[in-house]
């Protein structure tokens, strides 16, 4: 009897720790990858991965993808998908470079116009998919082509380098802030983390969050409960467009140029980040924190493979396999 009880107690503790591991498994996944990177990436007794410069590099490179992935998480939560974010990033970068370099716009006008373009394209996705009832996959695939086309038309298909100065046809130096650091932290990382916190709070504590989960979980029930499903869906697609445009601004600032070919394939990385973070592509399930961790896992992985001088094609293969493994583990929850 006594030993029975003990066994029972042990299984309870065992079950509890398993549940704990499962609950935070994406976090553990991240830790394991960081650990692997720390151990593997040493040269001449010097740790390449943990050097401040490299860490800053990782966070910076994660930021663009992460910001887009936040928007995608929202869209996926309401049962949609957005394939146009990479193209919107390209259009935003091109637009920003052109407005500042060729049309003598100031920084604020430029940022406003670029964000408005992102919002407009996102809204296009939302309106067409809800009002005309075309699946978001198709609508955003079309929007991807449209955004790329606009960007190429706008810049005659070439990249526009950004140089800074006070002249009318030079970019205001303030714009370079997007690629600088504050207290040693890269500004893109601050944007990424700030937006992550903002949307975590929005999803958890506000009416907006309840709307998102309700629509993603059961659209009919949400509609019958008096929630304006269509309006909220359009809003979320617009938000996703804006976030992609923000990523585009950061991209332009970091590379000091805007090219219509920027961001090709980035939508897939963003979707992968959301999926690794546990967002269910059928909608209704997922968190921003999960997506942030997903983006970090992808970023650290990229960085590690780069430091190890792994052939880029092999990198791509490894990444693909890791995505499948991560999503499979998420499904077991």
């Amino acid at each position: 009897m006594n030993s029975d009880l003990q066994v029972q107690e042990e299984t309870v503790i065992w079950n509890k720790s398993i549940r704990f591991l499962r609950r935070f498994q994406s976090l553990f996944g991240l830790l394991i990858i960081i650990l692997a990177a720390t151990i593997l990436c040493t040269r001449d007794g010097e740790n390449l991965f943990l050097s401040p410069a490299n860490l800053a590099n990782v966070v910076r490179s994660v930021s663009e993808n992460g910001i887009m992935a936040i928007g995608l998480t929202l869209v996926i939560l309401i049962g949609g998908i957005d394939l146009s974010v990479g193209a919107i990033l390209g259009l935003a970068a091109t637009g920003a470079a052109d407005l500042m370099m060729h049309r003598s716009m100031g920084m604020f006008e430029t940022i406003l116009i670029v964000l408005a373009i992102g919002a407009a394209l996102g809204m296009f996705n939302g309106v067409v998919s809800t009002k005309l009832r075309i699946q978001p996959f198709i609508v955003t695939l079309a929007a991807m082509s449209i955004a790329r086309g606009v960007a190429r038309y706008w810049s005659n298909g070439t990249g526009i380098p950004i140089s800074y100065g006070q002249d009318a046809f030079l970019a205001p130096p303030a714009f370079s802030m997007l690629s600088s650091r504050i207290w040693g932290i890269p500004v893109p990382a601050i944007c990424f983390i700030g937006l992550g916190i903002l949307f975590t709070i929005m999803l958890k504590y506000t009416r907006f969050g309840r709307h998102v989960y309700a629509i993603g979980g059961n659209e009919t029930a949400a509609h019958l409960s008096g929630i304006s499903v269509i309006r909220i869906k359009i809003f979320i697609f617009a938000l996703c467009g804006v976030l992609a445009a923000i990523a585009g601004l950061i991209h332009a600032s970091q590379l000091s140029q805007g090219s219509p070919n920027d961001g090709i394939g980035y939508e897939l990385n963003a979707i992968a980040a959301a999926a690794i973070g546990g967002t269910n592509l059928a909608g209704g399930k997922g968190t921003i924190i999960g997506t942030l961790i997903g983006a970090l896992i992808l970023g650290v992985l990229d960085n590690m493979l780069g430091l190890l001088n792994v052939n880029t094609n092999i990198q791509s293969i490894v990444k693909g396999l890791i995505i499948i493994a991560a999503v499979y583990l998420q499904k077991q929850k």
């Binding site: 504590y205 309840r210 309700a214 979980g217 059961n218 029930a221 304006s228 209704g284 399930k285």
Partner: protein, 531 residues
Amino acid sequence: MKQEPLLIMKDISKSFGAVQALMKVNLELYSGEVLALLGENGAGKSTLMNILSGGVPSYQGDIEISGERAHIHSPMDARQAGVAKIHQELQLVPELSVAENIYIGREPCTKLGFIDRRRMNLLAKQYLDLLDLHVEPDLPVKRLRIGEQQLVEIAKALSLHAKVLIMDEPTSALSRTETRTLFHIINKIAAEGVSIIYITHRMEEIFELTHRVTVLRDGAAIGTVHTASTNHDELVGMMAGRSITELYPSREAYIGREILRVEHLHFNPPPHTNKRKLQDISLHLHRGEVLGIAGLLGSGRSELFECIYGLHTNHSKARMYIDGVRVQMKKPRDAIRRGISFVTEDRKGQGLVLGRSIGENMSLPLLRAFSKMTFMLRKVEAGHWQEQMDSLKIKAPSYHEIVGHLSGGNQQKVILGRWLLVKPQILLLDEPTRGIDVGAKSEIYQVINKLAANGLGIIVISSDLPEVIGLSDRILTFCEGRLTGEFTQQEATQEKLLSAATRREEVNSRVESTDLHEFGFTGTRRDSNLE
């Protein structure tokens, strides 16, 4: 029955984690027998049947079929052992034809490896004929009515040479006529030697159809009785472990002034929807009144609620008055604001966000009221949640529990709780007790009565005639989008309601009218057990 049992399940036990779902359950089934498996939700019926049909890979205990030990650990094992299950949610492919569905995965082929459609259709036709289902084998399944689809599933089971057929609440989506047809078929295939295990919540079906009843409670077999030598009260007693003396509590109806009036409602559904057209419907509802609506599935009952609730503004026209004031509802929000609550028929499809908590589900229509500057007021919400949990006796550890983990009865209470939170004047209930156990049913009846006593106007749709009669002060019958009768509770009998609910302008179908004569009036006598 002196013969050896066809199927013996011996000492079947199964636990999921800490939950003991089944404890040494024994079950015997004879050849050609219809055995009812009865029990409240969570009693273990589904688990037991999942074990038999191969859905549960590991369990303790033995299964014997035709005197031989059967090792059933996968659906394939079950199929080989001659066990087939007709699922509650049909598992047909809507786009494929009837024959393709029957022979899915084992299509007869020509020598060249192509599907031999001619032979497949011919083979399928044999089984369809046996089941009196007169549809072409190459018709896509989506064009069939739900009752017909079920027969296709049965045809599939027969084509697999099933000796044991498990049917899990097969009538829950069927109209009265379709139910009759199904019972006829069940008797026919039982006579051919197929044994049927029939799971249901509806007591009258047990008396109409089955030979013996095995009752489960809390994972244990309570006993098996011959249907002919038992009665309603004994079964309910075995099932609940207590006796529910009065399923429909009586109440003093205090009918107040008129709260809702609908005049000349017409509804023209847009094409390509499965909605029924409504013609010239007028009705009124008083405070404190429970108005019952009896009609077959697909008669337009649900469409009536949808129109009142403002879901079809572009396709319907009507004059509506609430408390004597002319109103127009353009969207659900308008209806909610005017004090109308609508509990839909399909709680999983239209009612609940299954992956979220009880509380979040309850708050859905009130997100605006429960928030300030877009931030949810958690304490305010939680107070209301707890209130509903207590007053509706929702069985769950807390309001943080995920709704999808609850039993059907508790899920229904969560929806009811949601719509009571908005403090409605008018409550529209569409099949509020479908597929939930007797205990929860009786609790929901009590809630309805209490609300009526508090002065709400309530309209209840139900295809369960004893329920409509037991609950309502006044009953309207519905047939093919028109109102065909009105009865007071005293006047109403099942026969009267049934004949009014099947009164058509012209006789559309010879088959259905003969069905009525054959089955409609004979079977219902048994229902008097209920009253």
